[in-house]
């Protein structure tokens, strides 16, 4: 019995093997859940942690935690449990290592399907100019929300408290600002 930790970004990427400690029946089930949700779990975690390395680490930790469960519940319940477990680990990390929360600059350049021709460098400079322009065109309140969340690293909840808005509204502002910048670049 062996369990490769199924947290990979590519099928061909081989991960160091780690032995599971749960009973075989459970662990096979857990492994299957991970394999099925691997992609979306990593995306979910990257959206929260903004780092693909940390996302992978958290996903692995969640896997190990779930292997350690005494009494894993039915499969369809497990999926929700998986995301909740991972989300909790992610939240704890963010609380503990606020200093470590640095954006993984590599993500942007790590585009395997796109060859980075020199033209890209040129584009990036132009694109940044357009983004700056688009950001300064945002309606005032929306821009404040965006500055707090994206440039001061606040959580949506903290930004909401500071602006006296509902967190949902802050998410909406940030979403609209974000899509509008993308639009400005024709992305």
């Amino acid at each position: 019995m062996h369990h490769d930790i199924p947290v990979t970004e590519n099928a061909d990427e081989s991960n160091p093997t780690q032995r599971g400690c749960a009973a075989p029946a459970h662990s096979a089930q857990i492994e299957q859940i991970f394999r099925e949700h691997n992609d979306s779990l990593l995306r979910f975690l990257r959206a929260r942690l903004h780092s693909s390395d940390e996302a992978k680490e958290v996903a692995q930790e969640a896997y190990v935690q779930m292997l350690g469960l005494d009494n894993p519940a039915a499969v369809n319940f497990m999926q929700g449990y998986l995301f909740r477990t991972a989300a909790n680990i992610a939240t704890n990390r963010m609380k503990l290592g606020a200093a470590r929360r640095r954006i993984d600059q590599l993500v942007f350049f790590d585009t395997p399907h796109e060859t980075r021709t020199p033209q890209h460098t040129l584009d990036v400079r132009q694109q940044l100019a357009h983004v700056n322009e688009a950001l300064n065109r945002l309606p005032p309140l929306c821009r404040r929300a965006f500055i707090l969340v994206r440039y001061e690293g606040m959580s949506f909840d903290d930004a909401a408290a500071k602006l006296g808005l509902h967190p949902r509204k802050v998410r909406r502002f940030v979403q609209r600002a974000f899509a509008s910048c993308q639009r400005a670049l024709g992305r």
Binding site: S40, A87, P118, Q119
Partner: protein, 361 residues
């Protein structure tokens, strides 16, 4: 009837992707929502848009922190986030001047052609010449960096790119367009009794009810289909005076592209990224491994300066990237750097630019 939707698919997906990207960061995200997101992201197009969000979020980190708005500005702010900013701005512009960008308006109205035209006129009192249906036989021409919208008698629409010339002849039994140069997007009103034909260089394009883009270069015409199907045949298969005849050619459907030369010799049909081809409408020219020579032909339709490529080596270099219509001068200046010094740019006077490869002196 085939009228383009107000919000193009791509921009709707972009809004959805941004929505989910923010929702996932909600600490109280419900299980139901999580499941809806998983269903949504199972669609490849959505997944791509979501992954684009991840990259773009990082990319934004490199931008300058925007100015913190004053309290007064915040108090005067009326935007509540309920609609995309683009729509909000459009609405505001319309409120301010009583006028909207016509191309976008008509695109939103999936109603009968006659009503569409009437609405167009009502919305656009100052630009009536753009909206009122053109007489049966008309010539349209745009100058450098100008776009124009044309409505034909049958309700079909043509969006003209810069330095583009077309002649239309709409009669009871034929809709015949001759395209002399430039780039245009055709939105064809459905009418099986009157084929819609575009004669462009060595080929004739026949559509029933559909949307397609035609880009004319010196010795090459590129036809890209965004909706429906068109048939592309050598020009010799129709009467060049009125487009009558029974052309038989290749059928090109939505998401595909074909090109042909002056003699009407056809390329293979290729699958393409429609958004890339259509981006010129938004002031972006986007290319993927396109010979510099062809890029420059487009640029020349938008630039005040005449750009000439002086030698074949430079002409064949492949360009990948985006040119912003507003920044063409910058783009030209930065070209040598983009091609890592393989080319040089000279501007003997304020109206001319020459591009040549460096070892070709």
């Amino acid at each position: 009837m085939n009228i383009r939707k107000e919000t193009p698919r791509s921009s709707r997906v972009r809004e959805q992707a941004a929505y989910w990207y923010m929702e996932l960061q909600n600490p109280n995200l419900s299980q139901q929502k999580l499941r809806r997101w998983q269903q949504w992201i199972a669609v490849p197009e959505n997944k791509r848009a979501f992954d684009e969000c991840e990259k773009f979020w990082v990319f934004l980190g490199a931008a300058d922190v925007p100015e913190w708005p004053s309290d007064a500005a915040v108090n005067a702010d009326t935007y509540d986030g309920s609609m995309p900013l683009d729509d909000y701005e459009k609405r505001r512009r319309k409120g301010a001047s009583g006028r909207q960008r016509p191309w976008r308006i008509w695109a939103g109205l999936a109603i009968a052609a006659s009503a569409l035209i009437a609405v167009g006129i009502a919305f656009n009192p100052f630009g009536a010449n753009e909206r009122r249906p053109a007489p049966p036989f008309s010539v349209f021409e745009t100058v450098a960096a100008q776009h124009e919208n044309v409505v034909l008698m049958d309700g079909s629409q043509i969006k003209l790119g810069a330095r583009t010339a077309v002649t239309s002849n709409v009669s009871r039994d034929v809709r015949f367009i001759v395209m002399d140069r430039g780039e245009a997007l055709f939105q064809v009103a459905h009418d099986p009794k009157r084929p819609f034909r575009v004669l462009a260089g060595g080929g004739i394009i026949t559509a029933v009810g559909t949307a397609f883009n035609v880009r004319r270069l010196d010795n090459l015409v590129v036809v890209t289909v965004s909706e429906g199907t068109v048939e592309v045949a050598p020009a010799s298969s129709v009467d060049a005076r009125d487009g009558s005849g029974y052309p038989h050619g290749k059928r090109v459907t939505a998401g595909q592209e074909i090109s042909y030369d002056a003699q009407g010799r056809m390329s293979e049909i290729r699958v393409v990224n429609i958004d890339l081809t259509m981006s010129w409408r938004d002031g972006l020219l986007q290319y993927e491994s396109e010979p510099l020579n062809q890029v420059v032909q487009d640029i020349n339709r938008y630039s005040r300066k005449a750009v000439t490529i002086a030698d074949a080596d430079a002409a064949e270099l492949l360009y990948t990237g985006t040119v912003f219509e507003r920044d063409i001068d910058d783009w030209i200046t930065a070209l040598p750097e983009a091609f890592e010094g393989r080319i040089e740019v000279s501007e003997p006077d304020s109206r001319h630019v020459f591009i040549r490869s460096k070892d070709d002196k």
